[in-house]
Amino acid sequence: MAKRSLAGNLVHYRYFYLMLVPAIVLLFVFNYMPIYGIVISFQNFKLLKGVWGSEWVGLTNLLSLFNKPSFLTALSNTVVISLLRLAFSFPAPILFALLINEMRPGRFKKYVQTVSYLPYFVSWVIVSGMVIQVLSQRGLVNALIDLFGGQKINFIGDPFWFMVVLIVSGIWQGVGWGSVIYLSALAGISRELYESAHIDGASRLQQARYISLPGMYPMIIISLMLTISNILNAGFDQVFNLYNPSVYRVADIIDTYMYRLAFRDVGGTNYSLATAVGLFKNVVGFTLLYFSNRIVRRFSDYSFW
């Protein structure tokens, strides 16, 4: 086939390109134009003056963030919450998949799986509403504490307990659904492996440790990379629906801080500063993904690109 010119290609494949036009245009408008919009983080942006009329201030906004105690608090809260999630929420679906895998096939197993996926399909507005009710002064948990003679706990208002609630409700919501990809990996492991291990006298625990777990490595590594590159995403939907001023000290994360900076008054709405926060988040996330991918690629066959 002879090589065509650009125009020749466009004409010859016109129908195909025509079909691509809507997606390309929409992505340009709703994804690339906001990327261009990041320029306002280098300006002292005023809504009335617009991008063209606003004054340029270079890196002032980005640098001034690091002199703001409120930003530094939000940054450290975000990292702390993400690390707690890495320690507790990340392994939870892996463990859950292993436990599901140990169950006998049957109705009970199916039932457990069906129930465990349920919280994933309702919004954080609803999950938070239920969490607040169950943990309220007269909810189930405090009733149980009371029953056993303990002091009732203000779960949502106390900084320490709020963190516990954040992590536990995160696991509650995501553990079932998160296990699906691991279960699909487990389903791909040959039965013969388990059978020969059994014949060689390996216990069930050893089989889980030396067959099931390695079978999930590719998935684990990919999720780990995603989790690490999302370190500055501490779960906006969840935090925003659960937190309240009495726990801002530990619960205010970058995203909620950014939201209040732009849309609620934290010393005057400031679009430029809020955009600078977003840019910082984006650059860190992108960098972490890039490097974690390089590291993973060096040590294994599994990587994004």
């Binding site: 195909f16 997606a23 994804n31 990327i35 919009g37 129930v115 977003g278 984006n282």
Partner: protein
């Protein structure tokens, strides 16, 4: 192969017990909310927790009050509009983009793919997107909730992988010989044959639209543009006294002594559509994950 029935190990009992506890922890809040929603908004709620409700005291007052007040119907209409229109547009645009990208010989294919995939890793963020929506004049329009999520790159890739892996090219070639152009082939062959993957992404999109509240909070303000999920947030999370008082007025009550029952009833009115389609959701969502795992 002989079916063997191994004896029950102690571990299995512990594991089974753990699973039961987990299921209880998930179902109890739903149950608790259901009972609360059927308690009377006029009476103060009983303290403590209840596994079995007092059947005689159950009442549908909270639901009646919500429908009498009537704004939930606006919320439903808007939510259905964005879910249905948003999903139909998304499926059409994404499939239309996926089909050409499944053609290995299409020139500039790699460039176009890069253009698309790049948006998965880098975005403008909350504020530039908000300002864009403003500049486009979409503030307080339901289109602001629809248009930004019509071209979903993840779905395009998923559909493309499906087309490449599953659809028989010879079928297309036969159509081509018959003189059909790619647009006709797209409509008559590609869309019908991609149904399984399209059902998956369509359900994803529907649930996503139904559950979405943040964009609605940022982009819409007037009462006739509210979606049900955001109304629920105002009532449930922000405990808007204004909303609660309006319900009281509608029900002819001086005060609502137990706003919990209204909140719970509103919550159930918001999730019922999801619960009804849940069995399908589960099946198609899982199928979607499996499709996604097949690397293209």
């Amino acid at each position: 192969m002989k079916l063997r029935m191994p004896r029950i190990r102690p571990f299995e009992i512990v594991n089974g017990g753990f699973m039961l506890l987990l299921c209880f922890s998930i179902l109890y809040p739903f149950w608790d909310m259901l009972i609360t929603s059927f308690s009377s908004p006029a009476d103060a709620m009983k303290l403590g927790f209840t596994l079995v409700p007092d059947w005689d005291s159950l009442t549908t007052d909270a639901y009646v009050t919500i429908f009498k007040e009537g704004r939930i119907l606006t919320g439903y209409t808007n939510a259905i509009f964005r879910s249905v229109v948003g999903t139909v547009l998304m499926v059409l645009v994404c499939t239309a983009a996926a089909y050409p990208l499944s053609k290995r010989h299409l020139p500039y294919r790699r460039g176009i793919l890069f253009y698309m995939v790049f948006t998965m890793y880098f975005s403008g963020g909350m504020i530039p997107t908000y300002l864009l929506i403003r500049n486009l004049g979409l503030i307080d329009s339901l289109w602001a909730l629809i248009l930004p999520s019509v071209a979903v790159v993840f779905n395009i890739i998923l559909i493309r992988n499906y087309i490449m892996a599953v659809i028989d090219i010879s079928l297309e070639e036969v159509a081509q010989i018959d003189g059909a152009n790619p647009l006709v082939i797209f409509w008559k062959i590609i869309i019908p044959l991609s149904k399984p993957v399209l059902a998956t992404v369509a359900l994803w999109s529907m649930v996503g639209h139904w559950n979405e509240w943040f964009q609605a909070m940022l982009y819409t303000s007037s009462p006739d543009k509210q979606v049900v999920q955001l109304m629920l947030r105002k009532l449930l999370i922000e405990s808007s006294q204004q909303d609660i008082q309006r319900f009281a007025d509608m029900a002819g009550l001086k005060t609502i002594r137990s706003p919990e029952s209204l909140k719970a009833a509103f919550l159930y009115l918001t999730i019922t559509p999801i619960i009804i389609v849940y069995p399908f959701l589960q099946k198609y969502f899982i199928r979607g994950i499996m499709l996604g795992a097949v690397k293209g």
